[in-house]
Amino acid sequence: MDRALALRRQKILRLASLRYLLQHPWQLALTIIGIALGIAIIVAVDLANESATRAFQVSMENISGRATHQIVGGPSGLDESIYTRLRTELGVRNSAPVLEAYGASGNETLHLIGIDPLADARQGSRFGTTEDGVIQELITTPNTALLAAPTASRMNLTKGDDFEVSLGGRSYRLHIVGLIKPQNQSAAAIEGLLITDISTAQEITNYLGRLSWVDLVLDANADAALVEKIKASLPADAELVPAASRSNAMAQMSKAFRTNLMAMGLMALIVGMFLVYNTMTFMVIQRRHLLGTLRVLGVTRRELFQVILSEALLVGVVATLLGLAIGVLLGQGLVHLVTRTINDLYFVVTVTDLQLSATPMIKAALLGLGGTLIAAFIPTLEAALTSPQAALRRSTLEAHTHVFISRLTVAGLVLFTAGLLLLLIPSTAIFLGFTSLFLLILGMSFMAPLLVMKCVHLCNRWGSTRFDITTRLAIRGISDALSRTGTAIAALMLAVATTIGVSIMIDSFRSSVVDWLETTMRADIYLSAPDLGSGRSYAALDTGLIRNIQSLPGIAGVSEGRQVTIESGALLTEVFALRFSAGIQPGFKLKGGDPPSIWKAYLNGDAVLVSEPLAYHRGLQPGDTIELRTDRGPQAFGIAGVYYDYGSEQGKVLMERDLYNQYFQDRETGGLGLYLKPGVEVDSIIEQVKALAAQAGQNIRLRSNRDIRAYTLQIFDRTFAITHVLRLLAILVAFIGILTALMALQLERAKEIAVLRATGVTPFEVAKIITLQTGVMGLLAGLFAIPTGLVLSQVLIHVINKRSFGWSMESLINVNELFAAIVLAVGAALLAAIYPSWKMTRTAPALALREE
């Protein structure tokens, strides 16, 4: 009738169950901490991820304001007359010109946006709030700027101050006529923002007559005719694109990275769920006797169910709240790692604050509560379905466990096979890759308990004459209590396997990158105009400087590079235009094909090369063509071959410079590779180049071959720093799992131990039994982790990485790593054994024996 009322009436019944938890506070605490940690990891990863995405969106908003469309140009931007025609001939009022660049001042990265304050397409998000009367200054006084207030205060600058900013390798002195204050956005949203009038922007970026793009606010439905008119009016090198698709194209760049991050988070979640399941199972099975007695007294299954599940819910709620709190703290640390990686690899984001948004919290909360309930549901169901008199006997439980384990093993096999089958599907879908990865891992974890059982049996048989009785007791204890130890071992195994798999993947990746650096980076010195990322502001080297460097006596030859991003539709394509001096061998390693003929086609300008990721993402093969929007309109370029490249996950088109010049107006050079004559000192050339650059007033970034390798690897390691953190967290979660399992086991064994003690076993021997037992558990987890980790690593390398980035790499398995994994597993287990051992050895046997 009124179930809630009925439940309320069952105060004593619930007390009987709940008081068990309260009488074992350590275990309750571990349960809660375990669940909380699992949730915390999800929240942290999610929040960090979302903050990075948000940071990206904010910088996109700063860039595009409330624009719905943008007119974009080629590598050298747009001719400014396009804007005038748009206004005066087509009367497109909601349009605004933008010139964008990234600059540096001290340690700060500044996002320069040149605007026309009189154009009214979208001032709101761009300006924040400025002080009175500054627009007149911006327009009429050269080198005046507005600077984001938080950035200014950090730089100890205020209105009226001058400061140096370095743009495209040159320094300019800007005068601050106003500060930009955050309006409806967080202070972080305007971080690093530097606004000038478009005239100043053109002058300090040396982009005279050019715009980065034009913002438009169009109602695509209502203005369909206008959209067509605008399109028709544009010259060949310009294109009208929806702003959203452009942001998407930018966002796409870092998507694979974020997906991988999310996958790491999910891995942590699985370990976390194991833990939740583990602890909830203990909570129930330890009370089997209690539950059995209640059943005998006439408590129905449903009542039992309600009591235990409501209890699980309570635990779940407390743990989830705790987990959310820990997750936010953890996320604070992670977001810095994430944004740093994004800055290193993709584009400049100026936001590093954690954005607290509801979605990750809700998601984690649902996972936490749902997971806890589901985890509690299975053992509760089992307990409730068991007939009461059977419940009073533990052997029944273990008998059931053995049945359960055989079923679990079958399920594991099915999952594993399904995972394998999924891998066979020829697809590039990352999602499928992850699904099969998880199926494989889950499958292998499900098989772990059976393996444990078999191992222990084997051990017993082998050891029955060789081991002393305490050792045999210890080992047998593992399989006898498989209902408790099974999940703990599986969780530890999974965590360690993740460590192995990810380590192998990173090692393999790293060695491939090292390899690639060695073949590709052949020049002795690299120099480039400092460019602060972001696809569209291309720093260029002074042409006179290039000539002077080329004619230095020690130089055998140079390679001149220019990297630009071509936007066409929703696609961003990086094009790397290269020219080698005569006699310089290009260092690109080709994937398949006949190198001499491929190089011939490339150098003749008959065709381009594409990097492996680009070929993978776009399904390109030698002989295909790739279409690029050139300054002469869309043009299909033949593909001569595919080369290995780990420098860009989106991939690149490598184009001979003469071919590039044919199709693009851009004549700038972004970087040089200097090849020295034999016997010439690298340092002396560096000094000479520095002197020449200073003479030309050009800031340059100068790196020797060795430096650039070190730098690349440094970025590489930084990128994976976050995965190390996540792995550690997964191990921590598993550690808590083992600890909980042991606590539960030892509590339950109290009487058994007491009997042992009563029969004359010393506390030291008891400790030995416990330690031995956990050590073996750790060892087993470590051993099973090796094949699982190997499978994991191969899927990561050949499926996930391939599908995410398009990079192929040789797998490199370090035996020490595998050994370290076993040590880690045993170590974690032994560490977890310390407290229970200590506790059990201190318990007076009489006390334990008294409890019926």
Binding site: T293, G298, V299, R302
Partner: protein, 235 residues
Amino acid sequence: MAQSPATNHSPLLSLRGLTHSYREGERVRQVLDHIDLDIGEGEFIAILGRSGSGKSTLFNLISGIDQPQSGEIQMLETRLSALNEHDRTMYRRRNIGFIYQFFNLLPTLTVRENLLLPLELNKLPPDRADELLAAVELTDRADSFPDCLSGGEQQRIAIARALVHDPGLVLADEPTGNLDMQTGQHILEMLDRLVRQSGKTLVLATHSRAVAEKADRVLALADGKFTTNVEAFAW
């Protein structure tokens, strides 16, 4: 083998053709073999049998914890075989009081709470708990947890718990089996007194003839069947 003892009690519980067996590996062990039994209201019946003779199985069947492979159990108007698991639980909750050799008190509840539980389950007022505590002379231990009590005290609480909700039938499975002779004797007297006072029916399983002597009627269980030939019962 039908037992139709001459008694002036009206039948409370009747068992007909009750059969139950366990599988032990390859062997099938017949624990109960077509048992018939009528138990009258207010009767005290002792079932005498060795360990493993099927006493506990019989109790599990009577209380609805387990179901017989064949045969009928009828308590007043209720036929147990017609009930599903839930209804059998409700039947047990209302009509049965259980006393075990190992007490099986709930360790997480205090003595009084242990008595309150059956009352609460049956939605009965809590006053009976203190009444019963007084009856087993343990009012002063009401707020202790069971593990602080001696075996005898625990069993007295178990008796109180079995009677507190006024069940029709009390099943006592070797209630003195875990106690010294003197304490056992004391417990037995208390059980006899309280059950008879309240007019309840008591079925007591024991291996001790001395214990069984208190009963109105003694049945011996061997090889799955009852025999009245208690004297011939080989120990």
